[in-house]
């Protein structure tokens, strides 16, 4: 355990060590956006960026994922026998993932891998085979509020290694045994470097001034928050689109569809969104979340009230601020938190 150090011009060598045997993903610039991409050229990997437009959740929980295939022809030898989707062949490394996005994975682990009975094999396979090397946030966005939701620009939760960019070099801290293994052989960081890391950490945290509190949300009765009159105004302008849920690193609801074409069939799961009326529509015609107000309230109640109750206090939000940036009608989660925390 401890801080290691690597000159930036040697960074490519480290990456190439991975790319030989693994698929390496990292944020790269594509037009105006920063996107997660499979890396063939380490020089493309960004260090100077705020965060990726979309979170990396799609690398573990793809928007469309085939769960299995089947042959619908009753006369065929393999009729109606499920063909498993093959697990990942190659191991993977995600480089320069932000601490907020890594923390989202550790929250989602509690959902997808809660216990043996409800284990999501598709999620687990990808999680087990992927190393997460994080890049600390030294310059958070104006919409960031990670420190208010149990996270930090230098947070380690969910990571194997945390890297801190010092300009001409990076300081690397191992978080897990896997991380320690990766950093073997690198030289130790100097006291001066470690001091610099501490300074950068303080500076980054001080830049986040959303001034939010969760204390009252967590202590208020569920029904009291549920029935708060502020929901009556909040939902009015919501479009009930799915932008917030799809950009959110912790939103994880899905829809399952069986598709057939001729004899071929497959079961796919697709991201779904609780903003859609269809999400809760029953076959009977009844819809327990029949109004827009129900749906808008659900998303925030789930994140800030139900998830903490079910996940030992873990909030279903990592403060990345993506929903604030993409909401077409400027519904700002920070305002919602303030209202819920009355």
């Amino acid at each position: 355990m401890g801080y290691k150090c690597l000159a930036k011009d040697k960074f490519s060598e480290l990456v190439e060590k991975f790319t030989k045997e693994q698929d390496v993903f990292a944020p790269i610039a594509q037009g105006l956006e920063v996107k997660w991409s499979l890396i063939d050229d380490p020089s493309k990997i960004l260090f100077d960026f705020k965060n990726t437009s979309m979170s990396p959740k799609g690398l573990f929980f793809p928007q469309t994922e085939c769960l299995f295939e089947f042959n619908n022809n009753k006369d065929a030898e393999d009729a109606f026998i499920l063909k498993e989707t093959s697990p990942l062949v190659k191991k993977r490394t995600l480089l320069n993932i932000r601490p907020c996005d890594a923390r989202a994975f550790s929250i989602l682990d509690k959902v997808f891998m809660k216990d043996e009975d409800s284990l999501d094999v598709y999620w687990k396979d990808k999680r087990d085979k992927t190393i997460l090397i994080g890049l600390a946030c030294t310059n958070p966005c104006s919409t960031c509020f990670c420190t208010q939701v149990n996270s930090s620009p230098f947070g380690e939760d969910g990571l194997d290694v945390l890297m801190i960019d010092l300009g001409d070099k990076v300081v690397l801290k191992d978080v897990t045994d896997k991380g320690e293994e990766i950093l073997k052989g690198l030289e130790d960081a100097s006291d001066e470097d470690i001091k610099k890391v501490e300074e950068l950490k303080k500076e980054a945290e001080s830049k986040i001034n959303a001034n939010l509190s969760m204390d009252n949300i967590l202590s208020r009765e569920v029904l009291e928050v549920y029935e708060d009159p502020f929901w009556d105004r909040l939902y009015e302008t919501c479009l009930n689109c799915g932008a917030c849920t799809f950009y959110c690193p912790t939103c994880h609801c899905f829809d399952i569809q069986d598709e057939t074409k001729g004899d071929y069939g497959r079961r796919v799961r697709n991201w779904d969104t609780c903003m859609s009326w269809l999400f809760t529509q029953h076959a009977s015609g009844h819809n327990p979340r029949g109004t827009k107000k129900h749906r808008v309230r659900q998303r925030f109640m789930h994140k800030f009230k139900y998830m903490p109750i079910k996940l030992d206090g873990d909030i279903g939000c990592v403060g990345c601020g993506r929903c604030i940036q993409v909401c077409p009608v400027n519904i700002d989660v920070r305002d919602v938190i303030k209202n819920m925390n009355k």
Partner: protein, 319 residues
């Protein structure tokens, strides 16, 4: 914020609420982030102080009138007033339930164009002064002529003043943004079928099917959208090309002869997809095929594709 307009809007809104002519006033409040001002209902004179008018009011307020049963005053520039006319004609909004505060639109700003101008750097503040936008971020301040970052639909708009209103706020202004709307559609026309398909797939490849475009559109009020129908299911739910493209093509055709080119779809899209490349071509065809018909210009008008006449042209039907 356009200070003078904002003041006049607030005065009118307060008066209407005080006289109990309406139950609320639908306009915009300042957004919590730059370049995105937010639709807002003001129910009290106090709340009216939150109402503003700016070049960042990029949604279509007519969309929020659907299914409301109270009496709403709504701030409407050309496109929004035309959408209201369309919704009245299609029996989605009752004329007597809306009080239209007509305004002239200076043209709204495309935030993606602004982001491009500053190279994707984070914008911390955006102000407008006259015909300029001042964008401020960490270590930079850029003054951008508004015209250079206007939404494409605002540049090619030909009805910037409200066409239907109960009172008009401020002076009427230039009707046109100066661009040629027929030219917007023209690139498609020059392309071969294969090239069109290529351009089409390129345009929509980033779609994440969040449906922000559909839900921001005042035309998309169907109780059940065809992509949501399950008995039978017309459209798959996956990210496969066929599913994504089916949604966009069918939605565009469903809007044919009804789209007022308000640009709310593009402004709502988080991915910056320019889906107007479809609708602008379709609207051009409608104008050409139906004696220059423009939707939303007249109460009582019937959208051309919603009627059948025995003598409708049918040359396109191959015997």
């Amino acid at each position: 914020m356009l200070v003078e307009y904002t003041k006049q809007i607030q005065e009118a809104a307060k008066r209407l609420l005080k006289e109990k002519k309406v139950d609320c006033v639908l306009g915009y409040r300042q957004g919590t982030i730059p370049l995105v001002d937010a639709p807002y209902f003001a129910y009290t004179e106090e709340e009216v102080d939150n109402l503003i008018w700016s070049s960042f009011c990029t949604k279509n307020l007519a969309n929020f009138l659907i299914k409301r049963t109270d009496r709403v005053a709504v701030i409407a520039q050309g496109c929004v007033s035309r959408s209201i006319v369309g919704l009245i004609n299609e029996n989605q909004v009752k004329r007597e339930n809306v009080y239209i505060l007509g305004v002239w639109s200076p043209g709204m700003v495309d935030r993606f164009k602004v982001m491009e101008r500053v190279g994707g750097r984070e914008i911390l503040e955006a102000k407008e002064e006259g015909d300029k936008i001042i964008v401020i971020g960490e270590g930079f301040e850029e003054v951008i002529p508004k015209k250079e970052v206007l939404r494409q639909n605002c540049l090619t708009c030909v009805h910037r003043n409200a066409v239907l209103y109960d009172e008009f706020i401020g002076e009427k202004g230039e009707e046109t943004g100066g661009g040629n709307r027929d030219m917007v559609a023209a690139p498609w026309e020059k392309l071969s079928i294969d090239e069109r398909w290529e351009k089409f797939t390129e345009t929509f490849k980033d779609c994440i099917r969040c449906y922000a475009c559909r839900n921001a559109c005042p035309l998309c009020y169907c109780a059940e959208c065809f992509v949501d129908e399950s008995k039978p299911q017309w459209c798959g739910k996956t990210q496969d090309e066929a599913d994504v493209y089916t949604f966009h093509i069918l939605r565009a055709f469903h809007c044919a002869g009804r789209c007022v080119d308000c640009g709310a779809c593009e402004s709502a899209c988080p991915m910056g997809i320019k889906m107007r490349v479809l609708t602008s071509k379709i609207e051009k065809d409608i104008r050409q095929m139906y004696d220059g018909y423009e939707p939303g210009m007249e109460l009582g008008a019937v959208p051309p594709l919603s009627v059948y006449r025995p003598n409708d042209p049918e040359e396109f039907i191959t015997p």
